[in-house]
């Protein structure tokens, strides 16, 4: 497949998955930015495992997920029920510390990064199909899991916490447990995605994992709609895709454009484009069609 299509599809999948990784904890108002740090840590770790220790990719990917989950678990012990700004600050701090540590570790490339990771499946073409395949399989699986979560008792508990924490507690919801579960899920997902992210380019570099990434995922969620998982699915391909139609000089201003769109949405359409009402009305329309046919 043409290279540009490969990059578009793979990066879009990453954006969908990472925005979902942020969507899940935000159901209890946690902006879990530590996920970008998870990407970085698991990504570099997997790169090191594959390149220097010749670990097969499959294992490296699984380890990436696991490391994400472990970090997520340990941190959630402390911030499972913390206020939003604390979660944000912990996230930023982890990103900062991670970057500083990696910058100073020459064994994984330091400021130069890691290059020339091997192709999975032997050839560059096979590698690309493989990556796209895994990414979209992941999109389907994760999408399904989130769908089930949203329509479960856990999802309703999360909504209650979002609206009114004290009310939720008085209804018997264990805020910390719910928060921890969501955070662990999110960090695990982020770990794996970080591994795949690097393998899209067959290299790892600190420039991949900057604070700008936080901005991109935040824009996808809030513009798409933070109240449902579908907002991300719609917003990610569009937000990543439409700048590609513009000349490169405009494209370099991508982050500014995203920021401006985010501000416009926050002010004009606070729930995002795909709101809960919208999804509900589509659901009703579909079920009505099913009845009539």
């Amino acid at each position: 497949m043409p290279l540009s299509l490969y990059y578009y599809l793979s990066i879009t999948a990453v954006n969908i998955l990472m925005s979902w990784a942020l969507y899940v904890p935000y159901r209890v108002a946690h902006l879990h930015f530590i996920t970008v740090a998870n990407m970085t840590i698991s990504g570099y770790l997997s790169g090191y495992l594959v390149m220097n220790l010749h670990v097969p990719f499959g294992w490296a990917l699984l380890i990436g997920f696991a490391v994400g989950g472990i970090i997520g678990y340990i941190v959630s012990l402390f911030i499972g029920d913390a206020p939003t700004f604390a979660v944000v600050m912990v996230g930023f701090t982890f990103i900062y510390i991670t970057r500083t540590v990696i910058e100073n570790m020459d064994v994984i490339g330091g400021t130069m990064g890691m290059f020339g990771l091997p192709n999975i499946g032997g050839s560059p073409a096979a590698h690309r199909w493989f990556i796209i395949g895994i990414l979209y399989a992941l999109v389907l699986v994760v999408g399904f899991l989130i769908f089930r979560f949203d329509h479960s008792r856990l999802g309703r508990a999360a909504s209650a916490i979002f609206v009114d924490r004290d009310l939720a507690t008085s209804l018997g919801v264990d805020i910390k447990k719910v928060g921890m579960l969501l955070q662990i899920f999110s960090c695990t997902l982020a770990g794996g995605v970080g591994v795949l992210y690097g393998f899209i380019y067959k290299s790892f570099h600190l420039d991949f994992f900057t604070f700008a990434l936080v901005g991109i995922f935040m824009t996808v969620i809030f513009v798409g709609g933070y109240a449902t998982q579908w907002g991300t699915v719609v917003a990610a391909p569009i937000l990543y895709g439409f700048p590609l139609f513009f000349p490169p000089e405009v494209q370099s201003w991508r982050i500014v454009i995203y920021g401006a769109i985010l501000i416009l949405v926050l002010v004009l359409k606070p729930e995002g484009f795909i709101t809960r009402k919208f999804v509900h009305s589509i659901g009703t329309a579909l079920s009505r069609k099913r009845e009539n046919s």
């Binding site: 108002a29 902006l31 402390f78 911030i79 913390a82 206020p83 939003t84 700004f85 604390a86 944000v88 600050m89 912990v90 930023f92 701090t93 982890f94 900062y96 510390i97 500083t100 910058e103 100073n104 604070f211 700008a212 936080v214 901005g215 935040m218 824009t219 809030f222 370099s252 201003w253 982050i255 500014v256 995203y258 920021g259 401006a260 985010l262 501000i263 926050l266 002010v267 606070p270």
Partner: protein
């Protein structure tokens, strides 16, 4: 020993700037009721404006400083209606929404700085502003004018701020809103108009900080805003959100701590130390060392 003293002086001047930043941040938190993550980025933007005006006018200090203060006020005041609209949108004050808005603003500022100014390379401030010769020399210790100014201005600004808060009508309104916004409405204090005043005031503060930073650091870069904003947030979280006195103590403490680490260990770790401390405090005592006052 002399290294120690030199670093303490360094630390105090840097700390004064942190104190000023935290004060502006707390002001917006308590009175405008927003968490303005990217307040320091607005400050760094003003630094760039100072740099541009200095370059354009051949180092005219007065114009440069005026431009910095004005641009800071302008940017703050321009963002005010955005914040207030977002707050109104989400019903009662939903601090989360203002956080995301603030981060979006910061996103834009940082990226604009990386693109449009000096091709994203760091900028250097002329010696006319920073002063090239030490102000005072005691043995091996040399005190630069920038350090003296930031310490002095820090004291004056914080002093004026507390005076305003406790001895003026506007300050009373600020404190009332900080303690109880609903109660303040009851007494007839216009929340939005007063909130607006706090944006303007933090703009003035921001302009002063921009000039002081320029004098102290001698340079600026697009990433500086993010770095400082994380540290300022670290300070306010460790002190306790909204705690003015706590912010004073922790701001100075961080400045001294960073300076000491810088003096005795490698450079890039001095930045990380702030985060490590903050991380420990957030995880262990999320309400901060002095207690949340908001």
């Amino acid at each position: 020993m002399q290294v120690f003293i030199a670093q303490i002086i360094n630390g105090l001047s840097l700390g004064s700037i942190y104190v000023l930043l935290v004060t502006g941040f707390n002001l917006l938190l308590l009175v405008a009721m927003i968490i303005h993550f990217s307040y320091p980025q607005v400050v760094v933007f003003s630094m760039y404006i100072v740099w541009i005006v200095l370059n354009a006018t051949g180092n005219n200090l007065i114009l440069g400083i005026a431009a910095g203060v004005l641009s800071s006020i302008a940017l703050n005041v321009l963002c005010a209606p955005l914040f207030q609209k977002v707050m109104k949108n989400r019903g009662d004050v939903d601090i989360n929404a203002t956080m995301v808005l603030s981060m979006a603003i910061g996103m834009i500022i940082t990226d604009v700085l990386s693109h449009a100014f000096n091709k994203g390379l760091p900028i250097a401030f002329p010696e006319a502003l920073t002063g090239s010769k030490p102000f005072l020399r005691i043995g091996l210790i040399s005190i630069m004018p920038g350090q003296v100014w930031s310490l002095l201005m820090g004291i004056i600004a914080v002093g004026c701020f507390f005076l305003l808060l406790y001895k003026t009508r506007a300050g009373r309104a600020f404190r009332a809103i900080a303690e109880d916004p609903a109660g303040a409405r009851l007494v007839g204090i216009p929340l939005i108009k007063t909130g607006f005043q706090s944006y303007a005031l933090s703009g003035v503060l921001g302009g002063i900080i921009a000039v002081l930073l320029a004098m102290l650091l001698h340079s600026a870069s697009p990433g500086l805003g993010e770095q400082i904003s994380h540290k300022v947030l670290a300070v306010s979280i460790v002190a306790g959100l909204g705690n003015l006195v706590g912010g004073l103590v922790i701001g100075l403490a961080l400045g001294i701590l960073e300076a000491l680490v810088q003096g005795y260990a490698s450079g890039s770790w001095s930045n990380a130390i702030a985060f490590v401390v903050m991380l420990v405090v957030i995880l262990v005592k999320p309400k901060g060392l002095f207690g949340i006052k908001v």
